[in-house]
Every structure is written in structure tokens, then in C-alpha cells.
């Protein structure tokens, strides 16, 4: 039997991948939208549904960001609701190790695992910033270098609590000093599935040590293979096998009747994703300056990026470590091809990962998995809530024909679906 393709469905998030201006775009907050996407994923025999977490609204230049989707529900609460409208689909939620506490979160995740019959998963992320801390008791005290220490200790503590089967525990570490009775009896999965999403050295080590799956950002095939080799290669040191940790990149897709039709649709979607206003805003993330006076249909700024510590973007991980180099690259490309700011941004940022006919996309997804680039995909649709419908109607049957995706669920828990014990 060929290796199976793991599939997750990411609810469209609060960034410019999600197209809200399309007439078909629905509510980002009504439960019906979440239920539709989850049911669609279950119809496609996906492994899991995936939800991000909000801790504070994003800001740019000190103002609440208003061009992308803004606002989302509480992660755990939505997942508990989705447990009622699905039967087999895994329910994965992002929850920040810095702004939650182990006893409470371990209890909530164990509760979700019970209430869903063994379908809960936790995507562990970390944060150190005072920006988010302003909404929480702890404020921003966690030092950046300590964030993986806290995340690792958090996960180990949660596992310890889950292993008590409701009994007593005592944990004394650098980050936590807690003791008592856990109370919650062992949940169906024992341990809810652990995802890890950090890409740094510390994040990769944490994944190798503690996680069942990695939500990766590496979706270009050579880059994906390199990441796959790197992370899988770390498992032996922890006495684990390569199969114990699944590598699952987040990817986007556009389907068409022909490859040319798909490319045309992809370009149309990119124009929706990068409005004139968004083009300026994305440029500011590289230039780290107020560029509101520039014409999105005009040339790139002649002024160089601000490389001081001051940053115009808040509430989002920095994507451009070397601003001057990126700016140089972008200017050269714009001059070569005679591109305006908006055209350049459309071409340079966030291009879709898989564009083609259902046949070519199914073949390409399969190739990734069979040739050591990943173990599956978290699909990020650009439309809420119907953005996965066409994929499930057209690509899923082709993957099933290829024998790389189940036609019926054979297991009841997410651990069972993923094949991680």
C-alpha cells in the first residue's frame, strides 16, 4: 500500500490569504461557517480540522489593522461545538504556551478529548512579546530565549497530568511549580495529539522531543524535503522513529478546468488578496516605514528600509530578517519586469502552493508525500466557508482512487487516523 496522505482543513484566518471581498465570502464568526468547513472536511475523510488562536488584534503603525479579516472565536469553545456536528474528524486547536497555564489547559484538552470521543489535538505555539502580554495577567515577562523552555516544560507537565488518570501530581521546574489532584480520568487518546509549529532550531528540537506532528511552512518541494530530512533526522536522539512525527505543511491551492484556467483563477485570487491598500501595507512590512503616501500603481520607494529595532508591525511574526537585502531584490525584480508596487507584491508574496486541474493537483500532492517532502497537508482555503467544497468534490476522489486517502474512516480517534501511538 502506498504511503497515505494526511489531510487537515485550516479555517481561513485573519490574514490576507482569506478573501473577504468576494461575493461568496461568508461570516468569519458565525458557528455555521465553522460547521460547514468541518463537515466538508469530514465528507472528504480528512484527518482533522485546524484552528488558529487570537490573543490580540494585529496592529500596524500603532493602529488596529483593518484591511484583512479581523476577529475570530475562542479556539477551544469552537472545537467543542464542532465535536457535536462531526463524528470522526480530528479537532486541532492552536493554544499559546505562554498565555495559558498547564493545569487548566491540560484539563480543557482532556475534557475536549472526552467530549469528542478521542479527537482532540493541541498545536503548541509560544510567544514572548509584551504586545500580547498586555491582555493577560502575566504581562510580557517571558524572555524570548525562554519561550521554548516554557513550551517544553508545559508539554511535559500536561502529559504528566494526563498520565495520572485523575490522580495526584507534583511538578517542580524552572517554569512551573504545581501540585495537587488532576481529577480528569484518562481520556480516550490518553494524550491529545501534539502539534508543534515553530520553525527555529528550538522549535525543531521541541518537535523531535515531544510532538506527534509539525505544522510546517515549507511547501516548495526541495525546501520541504530538506526540512523533512532535518526534523526526521532529529528523532533518533530522543529514542523515536521517523514515523512517530508527521510533517504537515500548510498549503494553498487553486483548481481549474485546465492548467491555464487554474493559473488565471490563481492570478484573480491574488489580486483579491492584495488590494491596492494591502499592497502598501505588505510593502511597509519590508520597509518598516510609513509608506501611506505611495501610489500602489507606481514604482517602489527609492528610500531604503528602516533597519532600527523599532517595528511597524505588531501581533505577527517578522518575516524579513534582512530588510535591506529583501528591498534590493524587490527593486531589481520590479525594474526588470517593469512592475508597480501592487504587481510586485502580488508576484512576490504568498503565491498559491498548488495550482492546476484536480488531476494535476492530486498527482502533485501524492508526489510530495511519496518522495519524502512531507506526510500530508493542512489545506488553507481562501474563501469562508465554501473554500474546501471543490477540493473535496474533485481532488479527494482522485486521491482515493490512487489509494492514498481512506474512503471510509477505519479508526475513531485522531491518533488512529494519523497512525501515531
Amino acid at each position: 500500500m502506498p504511503k497515505q496522505v494526511i489531510l487537515g482543513a485550516h479555517f481561513p484566518g485573519v490574514n490576507n490569504t482569506t478573501v473577504w471581498s468576494d461575493p461568496r465570502a461568508g461570516s468569519q464568526i458565525e458557528f455555521a461557517s465553522f460547521a460547514h468547513l468541518a463537515r466538508t472536511a469530514e465528507r472528504g475523510r480528512f484527518d482533522f480540522f485546524f484552528l488558529a488562536e487570537g490573543l490580540r488584534l494585529r496592529e500596524q503603525r500603532g493602529l488596529i489593522h483593518d484591511l484583512d479579516v479581523v476577529g475570530r472565536p475562542d479556539t477551544l469553545t469552537v472545537l467543542a461545538g464542532l465535536a457535536a456536528v462531526t463524528e470522526r474528524l480530528g479537532l486541532a486547536g492552536t493554544l499559546n504556551a505562554t498565555f495559558h497555564e498547564p493545569y487548566e489547559l491540560a484539563r480543557q484538552l482532556a475534557t475536549l478529548d472526552h467530549l469528542s470521543g478521542g479527537r482532540a489535538a493541541w498545536n503548541v505555539v509560544t510567544s514572548s512579546g509584551a504586545f500580547f502580554g498586555a491582555n493577560f495577567r502575566r504581562g510580557g515577562f517571558l524572555e524570548h530565549r525562554l519561550r521554548y523552555e516554557r513550551a517544553g516544560e508545559f508539554i511535559r507537565t500536561a502529559k504528566r497530568l494526563w498520565d495520572t488518570d485523575g490522580g495526584d501530581f507534583a511538578v517542580r521546574g524552572a517554569q512551573f511549580d504545581i501540585a495537587g489532584r488532576f481529577g480528569v480520568p484518562r481520556s480516550p487518546q490518553g494524550h491529545p495529539v501534539i502539534f508543534q509549529a515553530g520553525d527555529s532550531e528550538g522549535g525543531r528540537e521541541l518537535a523531535a522531543a515531544e510532538a506527534d506532528a509539525v505544522f510546517s511552512r515549507h511547501h516548495e518541494i526541495e525546501d520541504a524535503r530538506a526540512f523533512y530530512r532535518d526534523v526526521k533526522g532529529r528523532l533518533r536522539r530522543y529514542g523515536r522513529n521517523p514515523d512517530d512525527l508527521k510533517i504537515i505543511p500548510g498549503v494553498s491551492f487553486v483548481l481549474g478546468d485546465s492548467d491555464a484556467d487554474a493559473r488565471e483563477k490563481a492570478h484573480h485570487i491574488r489580486r483579491q488578496q492584495v488590494s491596492p491598500q494591502t499592497a502598501i501595507l505588505l510593502l511597509e512590512q519590508v520597509w518598516n516605514r510609513d509608506l501611506s503616501g505611495y501610489d500602489p500603481d507606481g514604482p517602489l520607494p527609492a528610500v531604503d528600509p528602516d533597519v532600527s529595532d523599532h517595528t511597524v508591525v505588531q501581533g505577527r511574526a517578522g518575516q524579513y530578517p534582512d530588510r535591506l537585502a529583501t528591498a534590493r531584490e524587490w527593486r531589481e525584480r520590479a525594474e526588470q519586469k517593469n512592475l508597480s508596487i501592487r504587481e510586485l507584491v502580488i508576484e512576490t508574496t504568498g503565491r498559491q502552493s498548488f495550482v492546476g486541474t484536480p488531476q494535476s493537483v492530486a498527482a502533485e500532492l501524492d508526489r510530495y508525500v511519496q518522495t519524502g517532502a512531507c506526510d500530508g497537508f493542512i489545506l488553507v482555503p481562501h474563501l469562508t466557508p465554501t473554500g474546501l467544497d471543490e477540493f473535496v468534490d474533485t481532488v479527494v476522489p482522485l486521491l482515493q482512487e490512487r489509494g492514498v486517502l481512506r474512503s471510509e474512516y477505519r479508526t475513531t480517534t485522531l491518533r488512529g487516523h494519523l497512525g501515531v501511538s
Binding site: W20, G54, I64, D66, G71, G81, H100, L115, F136, I178
Partner: protein, 353 residues
């Protein structure tokens, strides 16, 4: 005005000897039957019992907010009111979870506020020394204030989806809450748009004047535990607390808690609330009597599931309806309880506190 009726659900019932498997109380199947029965009977809401840590004795409970969320899609009318503790938790997470529950239920969410004073519960969090009992309510009042401000931090019309200007949001209609208190500070705004009810219904269980006053400052509904001879006295004390707190606007809805038991075989029940053992006729008589003394609603705690709940939904409710004492209402939970629409403190023209 007809009575308002609620049921308090806790594991296998409120009697410590109520039979049932401890782990079963964590499954969805355990909760779906009782909550559907309450929904079908037209009860105004159910509360889901919880504490921060496991009780000193006996089996633990699942997280009540998540239980309520799991039940939301299974119900159509009944309000869902989980207990959630303020003492060791983040007001920001509480606010967004309850706002989300309000979306899941289409405006049927509430919250029973609880504080945690036991040292065993503080040790589960471990980060700080337990608060002295005298400060628990002060911290809880700050937490409710933050939760409520965050619910209001988006105006109802903040999402504009204006393609012409490329703006999804009108940022002038989203507000920092800038709460800075003795125990914590919260900047805001919420990550969740204003919930369907604007303000989900806030409730508290109160046994003493200081907690009546806490309820008068923070809540919409108070659960009290009078005995046959003290009903008027307790109602009077709640109204006095409202005056002392300087409460303006809608008065507290006063609900009396009663334990309903048809299981004398389980042995005596030591309870903060009056225990009514006997046929539904006697319970209906009591409800009618207490209503005449200023009680507006009742929260009934079945001693053992499913029998004592069935006695309520199948026998008591039809009897009350026949007597003209109870009529199921439709609409959002605030409407069902006769609470006025929730004004947004940040909306134009509103006076910002």
C-alpha cells in the same frame, strides 16, 4: 408574570450518593439526554456546575464551558450557563470563550461566576500566593468588569467589508478597554466581535450579604438559598444590597435554588439549598408560595439523574403550566429573563465609565 425555571446540572446529580460512573460524566452522551429534556420542556436555562480544581472529595467534573459548547448545537431554545472561575484564570480567555458560546447558541449563553478560595486550588496554578478571602470578591468584580468591557469592545456594526476602500473593519468602532486594576491589567479590544446578546447573562450564587452586594454590582441574576421561613428576609437583603451598591438599571432577577429529590433511599443530603423531597404537587405549591414573597424564578438541582430531572420536565412543568404559573418563552436568554437589550458602553452617545 409567570415564573422562570432553570435546572442545575452536576455530574450524576447533586446528591453525593447519586449513582453513576465517574468517567461517564465526561462523555457527551451523559449530558445530551438531560439537556435535550430541559430544552424540550421549555426551561429557560440550565447551569453546568464546575469548580477550578476537583472537589475535596468525590469525582471531578469536565470543564463546564466546553460541556456547554458541546451541547450548544444539540439544543434550540434553552439557555446554557456554565460555571467559570475568576480566581486563577485569565479574564481575557473567559470573555472570549463566553462570547464564543453566545455565537454557538445564537444568543443563549450565560455565565455563573465563581471564586476559588481553597489552597489546594491555588497550588494547581502555583504561580502566586492564594488571595485572602476578603479580596476574592474584589478580584472577581474586576474580572467581571473586564469580561463585560471586552464584550462591548466591538460595536455591533464594526465589521463593514467595504470593498471600495479595502477595509474589512471600521477601526473607530473597535475600542481598547484599558483596564488597570489592583490584580491585573487588560488592554483589549477583544478578538471576538460583540456577541449576539451584546452582554451574555451573568449570574452568581450568593449566601451572604457581601455576596449579594457582589451580585448587585456585577450580575444580572442571583441564585439564593432561603428556607421556608426566610424567603422574604433573603429577598429583602438582596434588595438592600442593590441599594447599598448603588445599582442602577434593571434590578437583579432573584432565583431560589432548591434541591429536588425523590430518592430518600440515597440517605440524607447536606445542602446549602432547601431540599424538597416528595411529589411534584408539593414542589409546585412551594414555588407558588415563594413567588408571592418576591422570588422570580427557581433553579432546581436534581438530586439524582435521570429520575429527578424527569420529575421536573415531565411532571412539574406540565403541572405549573396547567396552573398558569409557567409558560415557555422564546428568544435570546436576556429576552427570556426580561432583561433589557444590552447597551454598548462604547457606542456613540454612550457615556464611557
Amino acid at each position: 408574570m409567570s415564573l422562570r425555571l432553570a435546572v442545575a446540572l452536576d455530574r450524576h446529580g447533586w446528591h453525593p450518593a447519586a449513582p453513576g460512573d465517574a468517567a461517564a460524566a465526561f462523555t457527551a452522551a451523559h449530558w445530551s439526554g438531560p439537556v435535550r429534556a430541559a430544552d424540550a420542556a421549555g426551561l429557560d436555562f440550565v447551569t453546568v456546575e464546575d469548580t477550578f480544581g476537583p472537589p475535596e472529595t468525590g469525582p471531578a467534573r469536565p470543564d463546564a464551558v466546553l460541556v456547554a459548547a458541546r451541547l450548544a448545537p444539540l439544543t434550540r431554545h434553552v439557555g446554557l450557563v456554565p460555571v467559570a472561575t475568576t480566581t486563577h484564570t485569565e479574564p481575557f480567555h473567559l470573555s472570549t470563550a463566553l462570547a464564543t458560546l453566545d455565537y454557538l447558541t445564537g444568543g443563549r449563553a450565560g455565565w455563573q461566576v465563581r471564586v476559588s478560595g481553597r489552597p489546594e486550588e491555588a497550588a494547581l496554578l502555583g504561580r502566586r500566593a492564594p488571595l485572602p478571602a476578603s479580596e476574592l470578591l474584589a478580584e472577581a468584580a474586576d474580572a467581571v468588569e473586564v469580561v463585560r468591557r471586552l464584550w462591548d469592545s466591538w460595536q455591533d456594526d464594526a465589521v463593514i467589508r467595504d470593498v471600495a476602500t479595502g477595509r474589512y473593519l471600521d477601526r473607530d468602532r473597535v475600542h481598547y478597554v484599558d483596564f488597570a486594576g489592583r490584580y491585573f491589567s487588560v488592554k483589549g479590544p477583544s478578538i471576538v466581535p460583540r456577541p449576539p446578546q451584546g452582554q451574555p447573562v451573568v449570574t452568581a450564587l450568593a449566601h451572604t450579604p457581601s455576596v449579594y452586594e457582589f451580585a448587585a454590582r456585577t450580575a444580572d441574576v442571583v441564585f439564593v438559598t432561603p428556607a421556608e421561613g426566610t424567603v422574604a428576609e433573603v429577598v429583602g437583603a438582596v434588595r438592600a444590597a442593590e441599594a447599598a451598591a448603588g445599582r442602577t438599571g434593571s434590578p437583579l432577577r432573584i432565583f431560589a435554588d432548591l434541591v429536588v429529590s425523590d430518592r430518600p433511599d440515597l440517605g440524607p443530603l447536606d445542602s446549602d439549598a432547601t431540599v424538597v423531597i416528595g411529589p411534584p404537587e408539593e414542589l409546585a405549591d412551594l414555588l407558588e408560595r415563594w413567588r408571592g414573597r418576591g422570588i422570580e424564578g427557581f433553579r432546581l438541582r436534581p438530586a439524582a439523574l435521570p429520575g429527578d430531572l424527569e420529575a421536573i420536565t415531565r411532571r412539574l412543568v406540565p403541572m405549573l403550566r396547567a396552573r398558569g404559573l409557567f409558560a415557555p418563552r422564546a428568544g435570546r436568554l436576556r429576552d427570556r429573563l426580561g432583561l433589557p437589550p444590552a447597551r454598548n458602553r462604547y457606542a456613540e452617545g454612550a457615556v464611557v465609565a
